[in-house]
């Protein structure tokens, strides 16, 4: 087994709810991420899936310390990022970067492509201006863009090309770890495959480690080595991608998989869906016991009282973590 690049332990990220204008009283918390633990191995892609509002993006941002986590620790190469500050943390940021969801909103429209991709180099004071210029052209080539595009502005590019610029910017400082937060969901189907293939090629060439956040389970199965499923701020299941799709244990994972449409009418004609009733409860007031107990088709009495443990049901070779009272 390869070493862990990132170790997340009992990570919590609460956003306070306040009342009053002058004297802001703290009346509750939105528990966006409520105690998640997992490891990311060097060189792998960990997929993080869940529905909107389940806390998957917040988890990604809290790992990179873009939010200050409420509790828990994030070890990057064995060092705890949550206790770091200032210059130490800034140095660490060179090794971990982020690719954002919306390629229309994440590029400054007033900067040229050269400035956008070169900015991380400037911030981290890497090279002189000539070296930076060469590096930017090299990066553009790497992501499949014409290096002569350096003086153009973002509006001159299509969505797929913009996302390539976002990828080039993330790669500028030679990071080891990249959090990709729904990098393809704003793109058209025929363009999505272009970006996914690019991310896979770059991983092979540069030995990158990805945390791939998405809600599209088919794409996550395709790109990930292991997949973590999140529901209402908590992980419900984590295992390698084959096991997750062939032998899902948690009722939520089972329902989620059965809800994904398959582009083949012969299969769709015969498929039995597990259709979940109702909606996701509010993260400011999660149910007692298991978070999924309000919608679970296999709910038992214990589920409404006791929170299930996060336990390993796997074999010696492969982990299979699940939190459910059925097991």
């Amino acid at each position: 087994m390869s070493e862990n690049l990132v170790e997340v332990k009992d990570l919590k990220m609460y956003f306070p709810i306040t009342k009053g204008v002058i004297l802001q009283r703290h009346v509750g918390d939105v528990k966006a991420v409520d105690g998640v633990s997992f490891n990311i191995k060097r060189g792998e892609t960990l997929g993080l899936v869940g529905e909107s509002g389940c806390g998957k993006s917040t988890t990604g941002r809290a790992i990179l310390q873009l939010y200050k986590p409420t509790a828990g620790s994030v070890l990057f190469k064995g060092e705890d990022l949550t206790v770091m500050k200032g210059e130490d943390l800034r140095q660490k940021r060179r090794q971990m970067q982020m690719i954002f969801q919306d390629p229309y909103a994440s590029l400054n429209p007033r900067l040229t492509v050269g400035n956008i991709v070169g900015e991380p180099l400037e911030v981290h004071k890497i090279g002189d201006s000539k070296e930076r210029r060469e590096r930017v052209q090299e990066l553009l080539k790497l992501v499949g863009l014409n290096p002569y595009f350096v003086n153009r502005y973002p509006h001159e590019f299509s969505g797929g090309q913009r996302q390539r610029i976002g990828v080039a910017r993330a790669l500028a400082v030679n990071p080891e770890f990249i959090v990709a937060d729904e990098p393809i969901s704003a793109l058209d189907v025929s363009i999505q495959a272009q970006i996914v293939n690019l991310l896979e090629e770059l991983q092979e060439r540069l030995g990158l480690t990805y945390l791939f956040i998405a809600h599209d389970l088919s794409m996550v199965r395709h790109i990930s080595d292991r997949v973590a499923v999140m529901y209402l701020g908590k992980l419900v299941e984590l295992t390698d991608h084959e096991t997750l799709y062939n032998n899902p244990l948690h009722p939520y994972t089972q329902a989620l998989l059965s809800a994904v449409p398959i582009p083949d009418p012969h299969i769709e004609d015969k498929r039995q869906r597990i259709v979940l009733e109702g909606d996701v409860p509010s993260p400011s007031n999660p149910p007692k016991g298991c978070n999924f107990c309000t919608r679970c088709p296999r709910v038992m009495d214990i589920c409404k009282e006791v929170e299930p443990e996060w336990k390993d049901m796997g074999t010696v070779e492969e982990d299979h973590w699940v939190s459910c009272h059925l097991y």
């Binding site: 189907v189 989620l256 449409p261 398959i262 582009p263 009418p265 979940l276």
Partner: protein, 333 residues
Amino acid sequence: MATLLEVKGLTTQFFTQDGVVHAVNGISYKLNEGETLAIVGESGCGKSVGVMSLIKLIPQPPGKIVAGEVWFDGKNLLEMSDDEIRQIRGNRIAMIFQDPMTSLNPVLTIGRQITEALQLHMGMDGEQSRARAVELLELVGISGAQSRLDNYPHQFSGGMRQRVMIAMGLSCNPQLLIADEPTTALDVTIQAQIVDLVKELKNRIGMAIIWITHDLGVVAGLAERVIVMYAGQIVEEAEVHDLYDNPHHPYTLGLLRSIPRLDLGNNEKLIPIDGLPPDLVDLPKGCPFAARCEFRIERCIAENPPAEYVTSSHRVACWRWEHVIAVQSQAGS
């Protein structure tokens, strides 16, 4: 089965500062009573503008329906006055939109919004329309319908709001329901709920549906017939099983190959379609897909192929469709 809707040579353009945007370029199709037709394509392919034009929901100016006929129940909708078409819209042809968050009025109660159409089109009084609204909400699976009539849209979740939209769409027993990406803004588990609901309602009420989407997965489980659009044109039309088993157009083939499938392993690399869709202001003279097509020959660049029937129910706009099929059967064997 009787034809409910026939579209002939519909052409819609937008006159903007940058030039004329050729959004829809002469599309023709038929829809039978009680049939589910899916229109598939990527953003900007004209699928939404195409159906909005049917009931004249295009902002004019800058948009303009330049040519075409839309025959519905023996009348050409495009020749109707605004008053006449208002009698059709929401009454005989209903529409549900992509984003349930923005298509409901936030300052009116759900009950007020549902009963409005009933009073306008069905001539019901307050009490009758309220009773019918309760019925409709129950039909779309909203519990406690009586009390929820007095709720505002913000008190409903995304999936529930889409149910309310569907209830409003069904309120006057339409013969045709147009659904413009109704599940795109929803999560997969909620999407499954809505798709199931629409299928069930269709069986019960028997209206025809035009379902617009970019998701080939949803189409597979829902539609009977599929139209694939690219750059404002119909490039392929077929029965749903036929289309997935035997795509004739290189674009359809490309779309099917570029999406990963949940039920298959991930060892194979995805095959993306290279390049970008053409600029709708400056469309190429030949086939709009030619620049991205692996089957391209010189004729494709010079001449735009018309959509022609190759069997009684399958039509394709491609000079090379026989070659596309031959390549697939080679790969399959």
